[in-house]
Amino acid sequence: MHFHKFEKIWLTFGIGALVLFLVILGYGAFYLGTHPQSHGLTIDPQNVEAHEAFKPENLGLTKVDEDRYIVNVVASAFNYDFGVDKEGNAVKHIEIPKGATVLFQVVTPDVIHGFNIAGTNVNMMVEPGYISSMEVEMNQPGEYTLLCNEYCGIGHHMMYTTVEVYE
């Protein structure tokens, strides 16, 4: 089989670029730990409250340390449950100081959902039986839309809340 001289040049260049992409991605993933979320932690989808983090009183934003927060969420059709505020109303908005490290932990008791803080790298599939989790530093102030980006039923597009990162 014969390859034209220029085709050899092209394939070397093309494959070289692909290898370079992979090296960059592999370095980030394996050395800097920027793998997409994949913890493999399981949970009984019919009884998520049995898990400490998803007991009703532990939902929503919790400050664990200076500039360290945990956000526990139960995503169900068609709502994100962040728990209730002091007056007993459902929380629909959370505020995080700029530069804080936030661990998001999300589960679903029913169908598959998405968990995407639009415009950030917080983007996870939420599947029944698994705890989706991701730790990020919120560095850019602003108001973000947190929305479901995996089809979950007729109210899918009404499943959202807001996240504010303040200075």
Binding site: H4, P36, I112, A118, M125, G129, Y151, C152, T162
Partner: protein, 563 residues
């Protein structure tokens, strides 16, 4: 390279065979279903972009997700599959021939696929299966939806068996000869399709049907998704390879040239067979239950499948340049200026090729492991596959339609239809540039895919997305004009064009072409390597998924409006 094994084909086997009337009827039946699907699916697409513009509400209580399901199923599964199976049958018939028995079996394939399609379509239209074309568990559709899909797949298997039998019989009659290039390519595509669709068949038959009928209480969600995407990525190559068949083996003839290289074309198809399947995890990168190391391994394998496309790009430019230079057009790009721009059989697929440049670049971005979190399930992805399947593949299929339909119906592609086809292609290109471009940008800004119109509580981000959704409505409307034009052209070519003899263009090799090595025909080895790669990529993570399974999921039908 065992060159001494090479046997030059005798004159007889290079001959193209005529397509008898009885067969033409069969192939046209596939085309009728394909173009009816194009119209229905396109109409649904128009409704979607209008709804998402925020200025239009669906009448009669029709749900957005219902029309979205129709759009996905009928275009991604029905239109593509019927066109491809019909086109591939025609290629086989032309190059290796079809017996009466094979024709009867092919009709069987057609009817199984059609019955399945009708079952699925009715279930969706009754609003009982608004689960989108990916039907992710534990959303539960009416069982008829899954049973219909199973029929479609089984029908394609019958077609695959017929195709393999066609080549087998030809090879027995022509011992020691290489198989005709197009027959080789069809066989590769159907082997890939068969191995891949086993995954979805297992998911549907073993998991979804018993579960939706109530015989199984729960379903293993991650297993079903993994089986779906084991099938879902080769599915897109099942769409793309017939377009590549036309690019490699038909376009050179249309532009008045020869094959660039028979062996390199075959090599790229063999590579597609190897690397199309063991890559499904790149659709599951943001899922919680799969080991990230195995995700990365499949990302590497995904990058391998880019290589045959790099080869194809070179091969196409080289075909154009060699042909142009031979015609006497010198300079660095004289050959490019003098391509037959006014021949729609070339122009439509060419615009498809152009779309594959951003389409392919976007695909590399999507598959880039952690970078996937930037675009996953945003409307960027929708923009991406509207470039690849809805431009590259479909414009090439339209390019095929312009000569295949009149060839089958004994008519001519007239000058006026040719001109209309050029206009159709331009309309499509402009519409898609606007729609897909807006989708890509909105996706980078975080806008979600698969979503009915929503203001998301009036956030600033959602307001920005609104402008891009308006642009998509404009692009989508232009595309619908393109669909009307194409359906008109199809009807014209099928029933009203003047009688005549339209050429079935198949390119020949150069007189002094380097012989294709016979090891290319080592089918058993190709299948063995394919299976080995699949076992390598999937065994350990799949066992891991099963061993660490959470409790299964009961069916949910109320979220899609059933109960």
């Amino acid at each position: 390279m065992a060159l001494h094994n090479v046997v030059l084909p005798n004159e007889d086997s290079r001959q193209l065979l005529p397509i008898p009337k009885k067969e033409a009827k069969l192939y046209m039946s596939f085309m009728y279903v394909a173009f009816i699907s194009l119209f229905i699916g396109g109409l649904m697409g128009l409704l979607q972009v209008l709804v998402r513009s925020g200025n239009f509400t669906l009448p009669f209580g029709i749900g957005y997700y219902q029309i979205l399901t129709v759009h996905g199923v009928i275009l991604a599964l029905v239109l593509t599959t019927f066109f491809i199976i019909g086109f591939q049958f025609a290629l086989m018939s032309k190059t290796v021939g079809m017996s009466d028995k094979q024709r009867n079996l092919s009709w069987l394939a057609f009817w199984i696929m059609t019955i399945g399609t009708i079952m699925t379509a009715i279930t969706i239209l009754l609003g009982k299966a608004s689960v989108l074309y990916t039907f992710y568990a534990p959303l539960k559709a009416h069982p008829a939806f899954y049973i219909g899909l199973a029929f479609v797949i089984v029908g394609t298997w019958v077609a695959a068996f017929v195709n393999w039998r066609q080549l087998y019989l030809w090879k027995k009659k022509h011992p020691g000869e290489k198989s005709p290039l197009l027959a080789f390519m069809v066989t590769i595509n159907m082997i890939m399709w068969f191995i891949a669709s086993l995954g979805i068949a297992v998911a549907v038959l073993v998991q979804f049907i018993p579960w939706s009928l109530g015989y199984a209480e729960t379903i293993n969600v991650l297993v079903s998704r993994t089986l779906f995407w084991y099938f879902g990525h080769p599915l897109v190559y099942f769409w793309l390879l017939p377009a590549y068949m036309a690019w490699y083996a038909i376009i050179p003839k249309i532009i008045g040239g020869k094959l660039f290289s028979d062996s390199l074309a075959r090599l790229s198809f063999v590579l597609f067979l190897f690397f199309s399947i063991p890559v499904g995890f790149h659709h599951q990168l943001t899922e919680p239950g799969i080991d990230p190391t195995w995700k990365f391994i499949q990302v590497v394998l995904t990058f391998m499948v880019i290589i045959p496309s790099l080869m194809t790009a070179f091969s196409l430019f080289a075909t154009f340049e060699i042909t142009g230079r031979r015609k006497g057009y010198g300079g660095l790009f004289g050959w490019f200026k003098h391509l037959p721009w006014k021949d729609v059989r070339f122009f439509a697929p060419f615009v498809g090729m152009l779309a594959f440049i951003p389409g392919g670049a976007g695909g590399i971005i999507n598959a880039s492991h952690q970078m996937n979190t930037l675009v996953h399930n945003t409307i960027w992805v929708t923009g991406h596959f509207h470039l690849t399947v809805a431009t590259t593949v479909i414009l090439t299929f339209f390019g095929i339609t312009y000569w295949l339909i009149p060839h089958l119906t004994g008519r001519k592609l007239t000058k006026s239809v040719n001109r209309l086809g050029i206009i159709q292609t331009i309309v499509w290109g402009i519409g898609m540039l606007i729609m897909s471009g807006a989708m890509h940008i909105q996706g980078l800004l975080g806008g979600p895919r698969r979503s009915d119109y929503s203001e998301y509580g009036g956030t600033e981000q959602a307001v920005t997305w609104g402008a891009y959704q308006m642009a998509q409505a404009i692009g989508g409307t232009i595309l619908f004009v393109g669909i009307i034009l194409m359906v008109y052209i199809f009807i014209k070519l099928a029933f009203f064009s003047p009688k005549g003899d339209e050429e079935f263009p198949i390119a020949e090799e150069e007189e002094n072409a380097e012989p294709t090595p016979m090891w290319m025909e080592n089918w058993k080895l190709w299948v063995a390597i394919t299976i080995a790669l699949i076992l390598f990529a999937y065994t350990i993570p799949f066992v891991d998924i099963i061993q660490n399974s959470p409790p299964g999921s009961v069916p949910f039908d109320w979220p899609i409006g059933n109960s």
